[in-house]
């Protein structure tokens, strides 16, 4: 007995030891990839200690300390960045923690926020360097901000998704020293650290000042020589933009292939491009020798030496390449191929299946455009009873059976059950399939019917509208089912799937009537950070189409519908939320916003998202089995690609 207690105590101590580690980067000894060690020995690179910052960021491996080397083979179709490399090799100022519960240091080593959230101080890493060995300092941050707001460079208007303002006068950015930067805002900015961890964060950290200044007249008096040498460039802003172009900025191969001439534009990412996309359909990356992350034992990351990224011409070929084992990873897999990959696992092929948990709230949202141009239709759409009636007419169980493999539960758009923002009313109201109840609600709005059995609107004409989905977010099956359900209760909704261009045109001109779209914003705090289905804010909130451009000045000739009444109040509530300094206060304010949205019942949903799947070659190690996927989380960044390794 005594022995057993000792044994248990020993186990307990072991357990404690494993919990405690709290690795501090200062007392580490660092090691590097043999590939780089050879280059150091040959005198081509400075030693590791000079390449790493004084305090490198520690990425704790998911399963085990990895081994160096190997080539990761990626495959994709379509656009090299958005479909191929998104999330694999890019960096942002702060990171989501891997459980998506909050933010942690990344490029920024630490930060402080004043109590009223008007003053943010961010600490950079002393000794951190770009991939060409040039120091990364506050100068880079300030230069990035300067570029964002420089109207000489952006004659069409400044555009920033990160900053809650379009004017540099609304805040102050100052360098305390080379490694400390302070932002002071006139209004409190409660969500700034969350925004830094999202996609937009790259805006202030990925333009290398020392590289780009040569194209900038303020910094290079001899810029004219470069302008003259460049074909068809008349002035320095044109030259500058040529080397700095939206998507181009963080991945170094843009849709604008101009930049391919500079494949080795300095980067902070784990791998840097060494061979651009050519007719062989291959892009090659090599490890960044100055990468500033280490694992918990001080091994400089990434583990994998190089990436070979192959563009496939067709989705089926990509699928077969993955099944063959010709590639290790594909960022996206079509849901129709699910069975093929699970079969492959059963057959013992070198594939395992990861489970991305989509951060969405529902699989599909159904928007009636409350700003629709037709007066009679708008009156009907804006009637809550009409929307309730239509919601009761939808047979969600059948949709789940037919479209989602029977794996889901009916729901309206709402944060998930495990989210601190969960609201039961919003999630479950009016989801019951009940034709009689549907007719009862609809009779309150439009009791009269024409000879074909369709309901008549207030103008005496049949209520008929077009329900569309875009091929960017296709929902053909669901759309046709819903069109049928509504037909059964006397509402004529003609479903069609349109191309991206047509859809975009209809959004811009506000000629949309009804839309089926995806349902982003369910896990954790995503519905607060991206409240498009709760607050009339964002581009894809089609239920208030035309009222989205509330912050961005330069939306060109897009139709804008002024907000009023309850919708304006809702937006103001959100604007207030953005100024709250603490997460607790923000969540409380968001709960109120969600309650208002629940009572308003502005749009419908179909079913809770089902777990996704992603095939991964078995030789890739340290890839989590489950993770939160989605745009807010930064896509693959949640799986920490720098700590993946290849076991042969």
């Amino acid at each position: 007995m005594q022995k057993r207690i000792t044994y248990l105590a020993f186990l307990f101590m072991l357990l404690m030891l494993s919990v405690i580690p709290a690795v501090s980067a200062q007392d580490m000894t660092f090691t590097e990839s043999p590939m780089l060690a050879a280059r150091v020995a040959a005198g081509e690179l400075p030693p590791l200690e000079e390449r790493l910052p004084i305090t490198p960021q520690v990425t704790t491996p998911f399963n085990e300390i990895g081994q160096y080397g190997g080539e990761l083979r990626l495959g994709y179709t379509g656009d090299p960045f958005w479909n191929g490399m998104l999330g694999i090799s890019w960096e942002r100022p702060l990171n989501w923690t891997t459980d998506f519960s909050g933010v942690e240091p990344s490029i920024f080593a630490d930060w402080e926020v004043s109590d009223d959230a008007t003053e943010y101080t961010f600490y950079l890493r002393e000794g951190m360097k770009w991939s060409d060995g040039h120091p990364f300092t506050v100068e880079d941050i300030l230069f990035n901000i300067e570029v964002i707001f420089d109207l000489r460079i952006w004659p069409g208007g400044a555009f920033s998704e990160l900053w809650p303002t379009d004017s540099p006068d609304d805040f102050e950015a100052e360098a305390i020293d080379d490694y400390t930067v302070r932002f002071t805002f006139a209004e409190p900015q409660g969500l700034l650290t969350f925004r830094m961890a999202q996609w937009f964060g790259h805006e202030i950290t990925n333009r290398p000042a020392h590289f780009l200044k040569q194209f900038h007249a303020d910094y290079n008096p001899d810029v004219q020589e470069l302008i003259d040498a460049e074909d068809g460039v008349g002035d320095w802003p044109a030259l500058f933009v040529k080397y700095l172009n939206s998507t181009a900025e963080f991945i170094y191969f843009p849709p604008n292939p101009e930049l391919l001439e500079y494949p080795v534009k300095p980067t902070l990412a784990a791998w840097m491009m060494v061979e651009e996309l050519g007719t062989d359909n291959i892009i090659r990356f090599e490890r960044n020798p100055y990468y500033w992350r280490v694992d918990s034992e001080g091994n400089q990351l990434p583990y994998i030496d190089s990436l070979i990224v192959t563009q496939y011409q067709d989705g089926e070929t990509l699928t077969f390449a993955m099944l063959n084992g010709d590639i290790d990873y594909m960022p996206d897999a079509a849901s129709a191929d699910r069975i093929l990959f699970f079969d492959a696992v059963d057959e013992g092929r070198a594939i395992r299946i990861g489970t991305p948990q989509d951060n969405a709230g529902v699989t599909n949202t159904i928007h009636l455009n409350l700003n629709v141009q037709d007066d009679a239709l708008r009156e009907v759409f804006r009637n809550r009873d009409f929307r309730i009636g239509l919601s009761h007419a939808i047979n969600r169980e059948e949709i789940i059976e037919i479209v989602h493999f029977g794996m889901s539960t009916p729901s309206q758009y709402a944060p998930l059950e495990n989210s601190p923002l969960y609201n039961e009313q919003l999630a479950t109201q009016f989801t019951e399939f009940d034709i009689d109840l549907a007719n009862e609600y609809l009779d309150r709005v439009a009791p009269d019917r024409d000879s074909d059995g369709y309901r008549l609107g207030p103008d005496g004409e049949r209520i008929t509208f077009v329900l569309v989905s875009s091929d960017a977010s296709p929902a053909t099956q669901v759309g046709e089912l819903i069109s049928g359900y509504w037909d059964a209760v006397g509402v004529e909704a003609l479903f069609s799937e349109v191309t991206d261009d047509v859809f975009d045109e209809r959004v811009g001109q506000n000629t949309l009537q009804a839309v089926i779209w995806a349902g982003e914003g369910g896990a954790g705090l995503t519905s607060m950070l991206d409240p498009r289905y709760l607050v009339p804010t964002e581009y894809q909130g089609f239920w208030m189409n035309g009222s989205f451009a509330w912050r961005y000045g330069g939306f060109g000739d897009r139709v804008q519908v002024p907000l009023e009444g309850e919708f304006l109040e809702q937006r103001e509530r959100y604007l207030t939320l953005m100024t709250l300094p603490t997460a607790e206060a923000q969540i409380e304010a968001m709960a109120e916003i969600i309650q208002v949205a629940a009572d308003g019942f502005w749009l419908m949903g179909t079913a809770r998202p089902i777990p996704g799947y992603l095939p991964i070659h078995t030789r890739i190690q340290n890839h989590p089995d489950e993770w939160t996927a989605g745009f807010v989380t930064g896509s693959m960044k949640m799986t920490r690609p720098e700590q993946w390794f290849i076991a042969e």
């Binding site: 008349g234 044109a238 939206s246 849709p255 292939p257 391919l260 011409q313 077969f320 060109g556």
Partner: protein
């Protein structure tokens, strides 16, 4: 003969010239240009942040601001005098390089397909004709029509799946991964030949089916002619008779269509190459058309037309040699 060749050469030059104008114009007919396309992509992805000035700069840089006729003459002058096919906007490289990179493999597949078509179609066509309405003829006809009716890309997908399901790996591409980027060697050549049969069979099936039918019909016409009876009456063996007289007559379509096979194969090859991920000219041509990368597209069409015109010319010569009834003037 020489006079005929000279005359035909002049016609050929003229034809190619007309084709070059047409291809250049047709490619530019859709509204917009490469810059419009670029702006569209950018705004779809980022919400749009490309200034009108920048777009103008790009047009200026690419020479897209000039009238079409000026652009055409600049381009054709470069092609004729220096072999310069212009610049690829999409790949930011010399268009000629891109075209030439892809051409050899395209030719290899096309020639392979032609050989496959002949080797299969000739004996099967002859057999079908001689054994009209027998079981063998019906089987050949059945498969011929199936081959004609099934779209190539579908056949490609099915073969890919079957090779995956029963052969252990789906046969995609023209090389195994390890040879993808390797320089040419004997091992790479063998690997290439190992992969070649799938596209050759897929691209060849439709052509084979067509040619079997033609061969059969032509031969049937000939078999009932009096000279066949005469030869038979004189005691020639059936085999000798068949191959020496009616088959030679019936061969005409084989020869006269050599020239058309190339464009037909390239057109048929586009989708098959996309599906099978082949590094041939089809997908690049397709992509350049989609992206309005006009110099690459025009260049491809020009090169392919030149090859077609030359092919037709050669097939005419061969036909004249084969069939004494054909007169040169």
């Amino acid at each position: 003969m020489l006079k005929y060749i000279a005359k035909r050469s002049v016609y050929m030059l003229f034809t190619v010239w007309i084709i070059s104008i047409l291809s250049f114009i047709i490619i530019q007919l859709p509204p917009g240009d490469y810059v419009t396309r670029l702006i569209g992509q950018l705004s779809a992805q980022t919400g749009g942040n490309m200034s009108a000035e920048y777009a103008e700069q790009l047009r200026l840089q690419y020479g897209l601001d000039q009238p079409m006729i000026v652009q055409y003459f600049k381009w054709i002058e470069g092609v004729v005098t220096q072999g310069d096919f212009g610049y690829s906007f999409l790949y930011q490289r010399d268009a000629g390089e891109i075209i030439m990179e892809r051409l050899p493999l395209t030719m290899a597949i096309s020639l392979g397909s032609v050989l496959f078509i002949w080797v299969v179609a000739l004996p099967v066509g002859v057999y079908s004709a001689v054994n009209k309405y027998t079981l063998g003829d019906h089987i050949a006809t059945f498969f011929g029509f199936i081959g004609l009716a099934i779209p190539n890309f579908l056949l490609a997908l099915v073969l890919m799946y079957l090779s995956y399901k029963y052969g252990g790996r789906a046969l995609i591409g023209l090389f195994s991964p390890e040879y993808q980027d390797a320089p040419w060697s004997v091992a790479k050549l063998l690997d290439f030949l190992k992969h070649l049969w799938i596209p050759v069979v897929i691209i060849g099936t439709a052509g084979t089916a067509g040619l079997i039918r033609t061969m059969r019909a032509n031969l049937l016409d000939e078999l009932n002619k009096p000279y066949v009876d005469t030869a038979r009456a004189k005691g020639l063996t059936e085999r000798r008779l068949l191959w020496k007289y009616p088959v030679r007559y019936a061969l005409n379509p084989f020869i006269s269509t050599i020239g058309w096979i190339l464009p037909g194969l390239v057109a048929g090859e586009v989708i098959v190459s996309i599906v099978l991920n082949l590094p041939t000219s089809g997908p690049v041509l397709f992509n350049s058309l989609l992206n309005q990368d006009m110099f690459v597209a025009s260049g491809f069409i020009l090169v392919l037309s030149v090859l077609t015109v030359i092919g037709t010319f050669l097939s005419d010569l061969a036909l004249a040699w084969l069939d004494p009834r054909i007169r040169l003037d």
